[in-house]
Symmetry: C2
Subunit: 214 residues, 2 copies
């Protein structure tokens, strides 16, 4: 039937799309979203350039699809393991551990996809900037909610400034990623873990629930 042929073509299109995006997120994490080239992706994947183009319609749509694909990877590697732990101080620490592990394992070959692409698009305008900005806001909100869960459960001091603490935790994680990618070494992760545990020990009502600083 015609329907079966159509489904087969759509299915192949989806598979090719996933193939392209799987490559695009790694390229963008090292060379930036502007460094993505339809022709280069096509060559590397042994597809035609116009075939890749037909899948996305424009370079900007390829960039936006790449951001969405990277978000899905980030969710799998950071948010999902965090949610596997009950809300509270333990979940806050698991969140930070998962993030540092996500960066250190080079889930994206160029380190954190969002560090690279936000630095690239932060002072531009357009849909790609806006997609990255709202992704970043979503991550900050997730960190704040995770900290707030611990505070309302009485595992953090009641007067903890949740937004401030979230800012500080994110700062340590981001600099660990930046230093380790730039210098291709690991001391930044140790410093970040020490800094995070130091802040959490300072505000935890029962610090013994946390690991000692490394």
């Amino acid at each position: 039937m015609g329907g079966a042929r159509l489904d087969g073509r759509v299915e192949r299109g989806n598979q090719t799309r996933q193939l392209v995006l799987g490559r695009a997120v790694h390229v963008a994490s090292t060379e930036g979203l502007e460094g993505l080239s339809l022709g280069r992706l096509a060559t590397e994947l042994k597809l035609s350039k116009s075939g890749v183009f037909a899948l996305f319609g424009s370079k900007e749509e390829l960039q936006l699809a790449t951001v969405r694909a990277a978000v899905a990877v980030f969710v799998d590697h950071v948010l999902t393991p965090t949610r596997a732990v009950p809300p509270g101080l333990g979940r806050v620490w698991r969140m930070c551990e998962s993030w540092l592990s996500y960066s250190q394992r080079r889930v994206f070959s160029g380190g954190c996809f969002f560090y690279a692409t936000i630095a690239e698009f932060d002072s531009r305008e357009g849909k790609v900037h806006d997609a990255l900005a709202s992704t970043q806001t979503g991550w900050v909100t997730f960190v704040e909610e995770t900290v707030e869960e611990a505070r309302v459960r009485g595992e953090l001091a009641a007067d903890t400034d949740v937004s401030q603490l979230a800012f500080e935790l994110i700062a340590f994680m981001e600099l660990a990623n930046a230093e380790s990618v730039l210098h291709n070494n690991n001391p930044g992760y140790t410093k970040a873990a020490r800094a995070i545990l130091g802040r959490l020990h300072a505000v935890a009502t029962d610090p013994s629930a946390l690991p000692a600083a490394p």
Copy 2:
């Protein structure tokens, strides 16, 4: 004399070079060092493309000269005001204030030049990466030395982990820049100042020498 004519030409060449680099540091802070284009700089400055090329010899040399020019600007706006204060806790705080002011005043139109370009080149290889990496190492060393000056003067607890504290201060400054450029707002600077003063209050032997947290 031939020497006089040559000097005149060299002088004009130096002026044009400074003109080009003054434009290049701003372009690179917003669009990256790879986004620099000889032709675009020439058009904007009403020079010929090959004329600009002749001043630098290659795109990579233009990028390296742009990094050196940005270092000079950073020194003027951050290191020089820091050194105007006597060594100790006051100098540490002045260093952080100067950095936040340098970012917030958009001395480079795209925010901190080094945040943008290090994110761009961190996972590449070559002279530009190496120049940026050694610039970053130099900045970290300066922060550590400034903290150490305060510690040996007895203004910080004797057992302060200098390298760890420097990491934490830099993390707060970097995230303030990243957030404020991405969202084009200022709360990140307030959070960073609060975080920095919080850490300094915690290790200072005489916290009254510092401002209260904002």
